[in-house]
């Protein structure tokens, strides 16, 4: 997707300058992280979805989503999406976001953090992305049928070591009677599923972006690599694989950008938004699976080395499938929704999009 707003252009420029895959691989350490995060923070991108009166940059949902597409195209491995989601959740309850990196919990659909009568939070949240790197955690807490939104100091929680497929932090966070820095009841119209739906749309956009990058570098490689005395891009079998990669990339782009557009223009998280978000996560995850396999196949052994940039995109796209509920989980949920609405209501639901 071309960038079509100033926020996304800013993000694209920062990523190009400070998150170049080849440079990061060559560095072999974390020296790139500081300058990248400073530049993103200076540009106000981590707090894109926090209103200006709460010290955020007050970007629209659509602008924020386009930042995430760009982050996917560069396989950015800093807690940008996570801080944006956390800022968004806190803003729902009017809680101002502190500076520095944040993440959001729970991040797995079946995990639950409860708000106890003494005002403390208890529970276990698994697969929380970048929890180790986060200074603060935005928490959705349940209190019976009611929900509260809390800002928690990460140091108040026990955070276990853990990594996803691409070796980025993905941690279990244990809340053991944690006293939040700030807690407010979720507003009346708040849908407790909405943080997960925002999360899966964010991951869908990132996966679609990573697929765009995979397609580009794989096409380029096939036009350079010579075998059997010609460029491998001239072999029909390779061409057809690349055409399939383009197809999967297209499906991911269409599904993710449709879901982002739907949320950006919605007034509530209704069945139609559920369809858009779940479909995006399911289809983007399927595309990640098929697309990454093709990208590796075309690259051959060189793409399997840690020195090559390909794995930055393939492994991250595969890892992002697992965050905020994987495609199997959302397929079951979507299937149940469709079944409950009934056969004759399926087409009207699809056609309403």
């Amino acid at each position: 997707m071309e960038t079509d707003n100033i926020v996304a252009e800013t993000a694209e420029k920062i990523f190009t300058d400070l998150a170049d895959g080849q440079t990061i691989i060559a560095a072999k350490n974390d020296s790139w992280r500081g300058p990248l995060w400073s530049a993103l923070s200076d540009a106000g991108l981590p707090l894109s979805w926090v209103p200006e009166e709460q010290d955020g940059s007050g970007a629209s949902l659509a602008e924020g989503f386009s930042v995430l597409s760009a982050a996917g195209r560069h396989a950015v491995a800093v807690p940008l999406a996570e801080t944006m989601l956390a800022g968004w959740l806190l803003a729902q309850a009017g809680i101002a976001s502190p500076a520095d990196a944040m993440t959001i919990a729970p991040a797995a659909p079946k995990d639950k953090i409860t708000l106890d009568a003494d005002g403390t939070l208890t529970g276990r949240a698994r697969f929380v992305p970048f929890a180790k790197a986060a200074k603060h955690i935005a928490v959705l807490a349940a209190n019976g049928a009611a929900h509260s939104i809390a800002l928690v100091d990460a140091k108040a929680c026990r955070i276990e070591d853990g990594h996803n497929l691409s070796s980025d932090d993905s941690n279990t966070v244990v809340f053991d009677h944690v006293t939040p820095l700030m807690i407010k009841p979720a507003p009346a119209n708040f849908n407790p599923l909405s943080p997960l739906l925002m999360g899966i749309v964010a991951r869908s956009l990132q996966i679609a972006g990573a697929l765009e990058a995979m397609l580009e570098i794989t096409v380029q490689y096939s036009n350079e690599r010579v075998a059997f005395e010609k460029k491998i891009s001239k072999f029909q079998a390779v061409q057809h694989n690349l055409a399939r990669l383009a197809g999967e990339t297209s499906a991911a782009l269409a599904a993710a950008s449709s879901a982002a557009d739907a949320i950006a223009n919605a007034t509530s998280f209704d069945d139609a938004i559920f369809l858009e978000a779940a479909a995006a996560k399911i289809r983007c995850a399927e595309a990640a699976d098929k697309g990454a396999a093709i990208a590796h196949q075309v690259h051959g052994a060189i793409g399997f080395t840690s020195e090559h940039i390909l794995h930055r995109f393939t492994l991250r796209a595969l890892a992002w499938r697992d965050d905020f509920g994987n495609e199997s989980y959302w397929a079951v949920e979507l299937g149940r929704l469709v079944a409950a609405r009934g056969a004759d209501d399926l087409w009207p639901l699809l056609a309403s999009r």
Binding site: N223, K234, Q236, L242, S250, A251, A262, A331, G335
Partner: protein, 387 residues
């Protein structure tokens, strides 16, 4: 970037939703009146001339064409809505579908004025059926191997040869075909073919039906023996048909008919599974719905680009590649999930089984007709800069 793929999240404008309600009401009336059974895709009555006229009366044929030719000057997106609603309802569109989608636009672009004035209003009234004369016994995907000859004669051309796999030729009033007017050249093997309009009532044309594996006789062999076509039935540039083909493909390849052909088995599966599916059934349905939603959003995106005057040839080919493979796989997936459906007395199992049998037999053709998977991937590869 290499050729940047674009699938912007285009939404159908409000006028489309008003139209959709009208189309649904019309189709409900037709079903109530017994014109067609939405649960029976395998119909002997697929040619429905009266239905075709009524669709024309509603203004849903030639929707995007100029009013002077009987058209309605509406948008591609409005036409999109009519097409998808008809397809999902299993409406008998065979008589008018090709004319409306493909043949009319070719005539609009290349036919002489008096031919346009003669034929286009009749398409808009739902009165005429078109066939497409491309494939020959020795020329399928390799379109430019066509050898059926058009030989110049006084005031026109004489046609000799055979077209094959020609859908609807047995009921068609006209065909738009390509014939060989010159040999191909060393420099350009695509040279030498010319597009023509053929009146199917012209003496010398024989249509022989071919039975398909579904039991239908939907396609045909069409034999031309000294068939005279007047000069004004030549369309576009002589020997230059290859230049005229590519931009039409985006229209032909990206519509809802490229992924909804077997949709009925999904609806029926959801009905059979009921409101409380087990985990396996729920996951299966969820994935299929996610894939279908994505297909439709891709297809609407291409329709929006066409409406904006772009020529998204690569994107359209991607829609057909993914869409036809999806609609081909759908009956297989539904078959797997249907194994877990309880067969109670009031269940729709019989309907589902019958539909599935037909859909499974239909499936193989879906990735062949209108450009094979292999041809499409070649086009996509070219778009990616690989050839």
């Amino acid at each position: 970037m290499t050729a940047a793929l674009r699938f912007d999240p285009i939404r159908l404008p409000p006028e489309c939703e008003k139209l959709r309600i009208e189309v649904r009401a019309f189709l409900a009336d037709e079903i109530a009146a017994g014109t067609f059974d939405p649960h029976k895709p395998n119909r002997e009555d697929a040619d429905a001339p009266e239905f075709s006229r009524r669709v024309g009366e509603r203004g849903w044929l030639g929707m995007t064409w100029p009013k002077r030719y009987g058209g309605h000057e509406r948008s591609f997106l409005e036409r999109y809505v009519v097409t998808e609603e008809m397809r999902v309802a299993n409406a008998p569109t065979r008589r008018f579908f090709v004319a409306d989608r493909q043949s009319g636009p070719v005539l609009l672009k290349y036919a002489p004025e008096h031919v346009k004035m003669d034929i286009l209003p009749r398409i808009c009234r739902g009165e005429v059926c078109f066939a497409i004369g491309m494939s020959e016994p020795n020329s399928g995907s390799d379109l430019f191997a066509a050898s059926t000859k058009a030989t110049k004669t006084d005031g026109g051309f004489l046609i000799n040869g055979t077209k094959i796999w020609t859908s609807s030729a047995h009921i068609a009033d006209y065909m738009i075909a390509i014939f060989r007017t010159s040999p191909s050249t060393k420099e350009n093997r695509r040279h030498g073919l010319t597009q023509f309009l053929v009146d199917m009532k012209t003496p010398g044309i024989t249509v022989n039906p071919i039975m398909q594996i579904t039991g239908q006789k939907e396609f045909n062999e069409v034999v031309f023996k000294d068939v005279f076509l007047p000069d004004d039935y030549m369309l576009g540039e002589i020997d230059g048909a290859w230049k005229q083909a590519t931009s039409e493909l985006a229209y032909e390849r990206s519509g809802p008919e490229r992924f909804l052909e077997t949709y009925y088995v999904l609806t029926e599966l959801v009905r059979a599974i009921g409101q409380n599916p087990d985990t396996r059934s729920a996951e299966g349905i969820g994935r299929l719905v996610a894939q279908l939603h994505t297909m439709r959003r891709m297809s609407v995106s291409v329709a929006g680009m066409l409406q904006a005057g772009k020529e998204p040839v690569v994107e359209a080919s991607i829609v057909k590649d993914i869409g036809t493979i999806w609609e081909q796989q759908l009956p297989q997936r539904v078959r797997e999930l249907a194994a877990f459906v309880d067969d109670t007395e009031d269940s729709n199992h019989a309907t589902l089984d019958e539909q599935l049998a037909f859909a499974l037999k239909t499936a193989p053709k879906l990735t062949i007709q209108g450009g094979t998977t292999e041809v499409l991937r070649g086009i996509i590869a070219r778009g990616l800069g690989l050839r």
